[in-house]
């Protein structure tokens, strides 16, 4: 109840900040820095203060102060409010799906000129997430979440199923498993994780948003996404996938107790598994996601974030210098991996990951696999009101699960809510 109200207030704030965003940010800008510069940095990555300390020792002229924040949607609302009040930090961690709302509110700066040298460090799929398909660059990628298929090797053997290569095989395996034991599921559909659904839609080739000229085009109910929704709708209707809300103690218990045999998740899952399903240590393995057609090889992104520079910052150049160091320098990437436990977005950073996570001692080539999969991940441009689309997803698919109604209709509701909100906020929409 309390969190629901909180969320509503947060969303209201976000919308308000968006609507008011058209009044430009700070105009002051000093292109050439002289003397010691003080930068503030909002992030939720653990131990970032230690990493900043390394930078500060090496760069006495640019001092970075880290303010540790809570992550999630609320972090974005807080940053937008602060930017509106002219109080934004110089650097801010921004989830990829939130970056467009920052750009629309003119809260983050285009740093194309400042970071021109680091473009080669990132794959095209990830770079698109910070350019939004435009000429500008609105942040530097920090971590990424390519999706992969996590499964219990021992239980796959027990139930006599192979790792599914296609989603058809996945559906067949889901039926087999559930027929053998009613309390066991191959995997789950989550109406609570719009980011998960977005990642699977990206894999299928969806384009939820795109910009042509000045106009936005919304394609949440495009054919690719419909295919994904129908697929899970069919499995959910037959009751052969688990539809309970993930991230709950019950879900943790099911994951830990071997009642859920696989999880289509992202590269950061080892941290979740090791803390929520400790008994599964050494029993899980990874494979590429099942594909829509045999022979294809695609993945999507679930999660990940970038470092953006506030439009109101008086030290954009210094901030860009730090952001570049943090996300491309070999020493910084090493620290990000060891101290902040992230999967870096930079290619050279991914190459540094060699020792498999402790939880995956049985799979020595975990990171080679992950890097291969990361290369196949394709994203899409996020729109300026992802928060609205995401809460519409939760509402619509929750309802569809409860009423056992069509997932296609739920997707349509999500699409309509997103379009209506964009119109209301004054965005130009392509017909």
């Amino acid at each position: 109840m309390r969190t629901k109200r909180l969320r509503m207030v947060m969303s209201a704030m976000l919308v308000g900040a968006l609507a008011a965003g058209c009044s430009g940010g700070g105009q002051e800008q000093t292109p050439q820095e002289t003397g010691p510069v003080e930068l503030t940095f909002w992030t939720w990555a653990p131990n970032m203060d230690k990493i900043a300390a390394v930078w500060n020792t090496a760069h006495p002229d640019i001092k970075v102060t880290v303010s540790k924040q809570a992550g999630g949607d609320e972090a974005a609302a807080k940053f937008l409010t602060a930017a509106k009040a002219g109080n934004a930090p110089d650097l801010v961690q921004a989830e990829y799906q939130m970056l467009p709302s920052f750009v629309a509110a003119e809260a983050v700066a285009d740093i194309k000129g400042e970071v021109a040298g680091v473009r080669d460090q990132f794959s095209d799929g990830i770079w698109n997430l910070v350019t939004l398909g435009t000429d500008g660059v609105y942040g530097l990628p920090q971590d990424s979440g390519p999706m992969m298929f996590y499964y219990r090797t021992d239980l796959f053997t027990k139930y006599g199923i192979a790792v599914p290569k296609t989603w058809d095989e996945y559906a067949a395996a889901a039926r087999t498993v559930h027929a053998k034991d009613k309390s066991v599921y191959l995997g789950g559909f989550s109406s609570k994780d719009p980011g998960w659904f977005a990642g699977l839609s990206q894999q299928a080739g969806a384009q939820w948003w795109s910009i042509t000229g000045e106009a936005w085009k919304v394609g949440i109910n495009d054919d690719a996404t419909k295919k994904v929704a129908d697929f899970w709708g069919g499995l959910a209707k037959d009751g052969v996938v688990d539809t309970q809300a993930p991230w709950t103690p019950e879900w943790n218990a099911a994951l830990n107790g071997g009642k859920i045999l696989s999880w289509a998740s992202a590269v950061w899952a080892p941290g979740v598994l090791s803390s929520n399903a400790p008994d599964g240590k050494g029993k899980w393995a990874i494979a590429p996601l099942p594909q829509w057609s045999a022979g294809e090889n695609y993945s999507g992104f679930w999660g990940g974030s970038s470092i953006a520079i506030a439009e109101g910052s008086k030290h954009k150049q210094a901030a860009a210098q730090f952001a570049s160091w943090l996300n491309t320098d070999a020493k910084a990437l090493d620290l990000l991996i060891k101290e902040a436990a992230i999967y870096p977005a930079a290619k050279s950073g991914q190459a540094l990951m060699t020792t498999a996570p402790e939880y995956f001692t049985n799979q020595a080539d975990f990171w080679q696999q992950a890097t291969n999969i990361a290369g196949t991940a394709r994203g899409f441009t996020f729109g300026p009101n992802v928060n609205v689309a995401y809460s519409a997803y939760k509402d619509a698919f929750d309802k569809a699960l409860q009423n056992k109604s069509s997932f296609t209709d739920a997707l349509g509701a999500m699409h309509d809510a997103t379009v209506a909100d964009m119109k209301k906020s004054g965005f130009t929409l392509a017909s």
């Binding site: 109200r5 909180l6 207030v9 704030m13 308000g16 503030t40 909002w42 939720w44 990555a45 653990p46 203060d49 303010s67 540790k68 924040q69 809570a70 992550g71 999630g72 609320e74 972090a75 807080k78 409010t81 602060a82 509106k84 009040a85 002219g86 109080n87 930090p89 989830e95 971590d143 979440g145 980011g195 103690p249 943790n252 218990a253 830990n256 107790g257 992202a266 590269v267 950061w268 941290g271 979740v272 090791s274 803390s275 929520n276 400790p278 008994d279 679930w302 999660g303 990940g304 974030s305 436990a341 992230i342 999967y343």
Partner: protein, 282 residues
Amino acid sequence: MTTKGVRRPLGLAPTAVLLLGALYCLLPVCWVLAASTKTRGELFTTNAFTPGTGFFSNIADLSEYRDGIFWQWMANTALYAGVGALLSTAVSVLAGYALAKFRFFGRNVIFNVLIGGILVPAVVLAVPQYLLLAKAGLANTYWAVLLPSILHPYSIYLARIYASAAIPDALLEAGRIDGAGENRLLRVVAVPLMLPGMVTIFLFQFVAIWNNFLLPFIMLADDERFPLTVGLYTLLATGANQPALYNLVITGALLSIIPLIALFLTMQRYWRTDLSGGSVKS
């Protein structure tokens, strides 16, 4: 000889409802108690109400987290709640007393505005307050949380009701006839009579500020100044790719209610006086 009391029907239904209510309130507390003793591995794997083995290691981990920042949060919360509630009580009592016992131009307007203020939830005001304080250069300071907590319409309303009921006009009259100035009347007559009401207001505000989340969440950027609510939230919302530190959050939540319980136990006497007083007089 048997002294026969009046036999009343036991009232099975009301008792059952009350028992259910008690269970509803106490069960989560029991869960927190049990869960705080569990290690990370035990938390989701063992039975919900069986105690685990990790209570002290949880406290040690929590104390070590980011060089003991949890205790800094605890101290911050105590400062916000303690100082904020004291200031708020002082302001409320003065305002309530004035509104109850003096007739002056605009009294009813002020009072009606206050009543209106009660209807506006504090969460709605958090963002405008942030924008205002940011203009004044006070955002991200201790004042950013303290100042908005001081003025609390409901407390002023409560103080006014209490003052008009607890302080007889005749007593003030008598004091005036004896030559006491208004300051002296306030000190010697009004404040002692309002003491139970003041404790109520203090407790109300203390608990409200202790539990407040949105205001400090928006106002404060620097986690050295966070109160417990916002601090523990950063442990929970660690970003999509980090496991939430559930065991530390639960242990932290348990530790954070201990001062509240202590406060209630010590001030219970006044609290009870007031509740019964109020039930008769108004």
